[in-house]
Amino acid sequence: MATDERGPAGDGTPDAARLSELLELTQDAILVREVATSVVTYWNRGAQRLYGWTREQARGRVTHELLATRFPVSREAVDASLVQDGFWEGELIHRRRDGSHVVVASRQAIQRDASGTPQAILEINTDITERKAAEAEHLRLAAEQRARQLAERALDRLARLQRLTGALSQALTPAEVGSLVIEHVVSAFGARGGAVRAVAPGSNGPRGLAARGEALGDNGPAADTAVVPLIVDGRVLGEIVLRFDGGRTLEREDRELLEVLASQCAQALERARLYELAVSAHEDLRRSRDQLAAILGGVAEGVTVQDAQGKLVYANDVAARLCGFESGEALLGATGEEVLRRFSLFDEDGRPLSTEHLPGRQLLRGLEAPELVIQVGDPLTGACRWSIVNSAVVRDAEGQLQLVVNIFRDITERKRQTDVAALLAAASRALSETLDPLAGVQRVADLAVVSVADYCAVDLLGGVGYSAQRVCSIRPGEETRALADALGTGDPVAGEAEAAHLVARLSAPLRARGQTFGTLSLGAVSAGRRLGPAEQTLVEDLAARTALALDNARLYREAHEHAEHQATLNAALRETIAERDRALEDLRQALRTRDEFLASASHDLKNPLASIKATAQLLRRRLDRAETVDVARLMEGLRRLDAIATRAAGLVEELLDLARMQMGRPLDLERAPTDLVALVREIAAEQQQGTERHVLAVEADEPAVVGAWDAGRLARVLTNLVDNALKYSPGGGRVSIAVRRAAGDSGQEWATVDVRDEGMGIPSAELDRIFDRFHRASNVEGRISGTGIGLASARHILESHGGSISVSSQEGMGSVFTVRLPLQAAGVDAEGAST
């Protein structure tokens, strides 16, 4: 169709033609497609280079089908934007003809005719694959670094928390607590100075417990000051004040850590207050038991008091509830065995623990008693609460042990937070450490079921670098067996199995850099495991980290694949260049040898011409001088002229044969009955005339060996072989020529001629190549004149006859060339041959 030949400018005017030409020259892929159908109507050379489809292949195809276009949102969105703005710009992924993908920056515009009706859409696509790969690599590295930093920070926070918690457990007075905390936070947050202040009951303002660095004024919070309240169970006990240099403020994460530390500090202060209370009440314990109970009954901690014999003399209601009793009175009234039946005790790692190991009992026996983390399990529900137990001794004026005060603080929530932080840190590490993103995801699921959930599932949607699949982990044990069995039956029922066995389930999308990979879910099979708002945050956090790791791995893989593709292309290119270099070198060699051949051939042709000229001039001189014409001498001269002319014609024939051979054309053989024995004798006699140093001997089994051969060309082959034998035995010697008749396979009879010399021979490494055109053996090159075409020509002539030529030689000992000719040539009737 004529319209198809027009360029994008459309009307075929000279300007349009020039524009069209320009578009052909640009590196970018330029194409024009119809508005309604997206059918390609123009396709420049750049497009052919970029996509691999020629203009003819592309024309008439639907663009997004031909290129399997991947749109950022959808094709409809691009078209809508084109219709509305007349223009669209963005990135697309196209598939090349070879199946590889290319990222292009695409600019598209609608072309309208004079009346404003959309005519076509012009697309200019620039290959940005390499740039995108570099960007992806950069993003990946940045994200990886960020993930590592996150993980390191989380671990660092944990370590700080643990250090301070350990130290605080030893502090018995508010002042000790204050100085420990302030020392820790001032250095940890790089503050100029700071203070811990406590609010004394009944006073107007806080009093300083401890201060460090620059003394803080009473001017209240300033821009460079951070104030964190110390709160226990909703009561404000005091505050931590930190002052920084140059108006520096705390980052979100630092502030969070400071708040956790403040909560620890507040709890330690509260505990210290309880000790003080217990000690001060000691003197009049019996008198004011009710007063003590009134004070201790209101605190959040469990408090028990033992006498010097270990007998429980006081327990508040919180302590009682921890052991499974309704009130302190009920606990105090129960027998020891009864108490032990009400609860079970485990250490931090979940191993059963004897009450003998509790710090109070240790102190009673005069041993050291550090803070202890315990789990107290309700034998009925199986639910465990975590507590920290601190115990302290109260002595009388003589130093005699009077009482032991035990304080149980419920840390179940705090433990859970720590577990969550540890889980996030471990998950980040697992995701960043493995090269296989799915193995990392599996590891995250395994970690989640160890500490926070009974069940964790990651469902990938597929299509964004990963196939649709489910990675899940289930906490082993009796409780989860039914769920594991149900899930084990296959994916289609996963939703039903979850619905049937999970009592709670939380999910968050796996989203990173605008891509959604799927969802991450946590589930619980029993009511004892809480999944609340804290876990919702955890799920989202885990999902964000997992998605980031998946996206990083995808980008990395794509960048890697791109690099590999480039490497393959480069290797192919290098190979092509090497091939071209080899071909070029072959060509140079061929040209060199051809030049040598031409020089040699012109020399060979000039010689007979020179002889003809000289002989003719000689005859004329003689005719000029002599009064009478000597007819005999004249006849002799004319005969010589004739012979030289014949020789020259033979030479021309030979050169023509060579030209045919070079063009790969067969010889036009002039077959006629030829006696090989007679031919050989003739040649030997002729060659013998030219040498006195050599002896030429002809051996023949039969008086005649006759075949249908081209006598002229065979004479040339044999003359050449004998000539070589003479030329390459410069020291003289015997040259024998043997003619034989030999029977071959399937009744075929052969004539053979061996030409044997005692000359310099041919190096064995070169035997294979001496029949190649222009090849000359290394031991004669430059020493003995020759064109290097005689043997190649001989082979050509013999093979045209259906025969062959071969050689055996030993350097320094001589060579034997063997010619084989079929006695009944294929295609030649026997009658013609025997005539």
């Binding site: 020399h603 000039k606 003809i612 000229k613 010589r640 030219g690 410069p730």
Partner: protein
Amino acid sequence: MGPRVLVVDDDPDMRLAMHEVLIDEGLDVEVAADGREALDRARTRRPALVILDITLPVLDGFTVADELRLRFGLVPILAVTADGRAAYKARRVGAYAYLRKPFELETLVSLVKRGLADP
């Protein structure tokens, strides 16, 4: 008999033509078909002048020229060659003149006479 001239050429017809035209000029002419034969002939009797084809089998013209000068000192050489770069080759063999094949016999005769007259 005139001065002795040695004609060295591997083409028998060329050899014969040069031989006969120089005999007609009254010179003592000897012929050789290759380099080795040329040296053998020269050894037997010193030539007054050598007509030397450069492209020869067995021993080429350059070797023959070197050998001749080594043995007999300055022998005038008239170089003959069929291929290109004749002037260069003639200089290399130390010839007093050269002829490019095919050539006029008259030129050959006059160059030989000049070579014999002005050694």
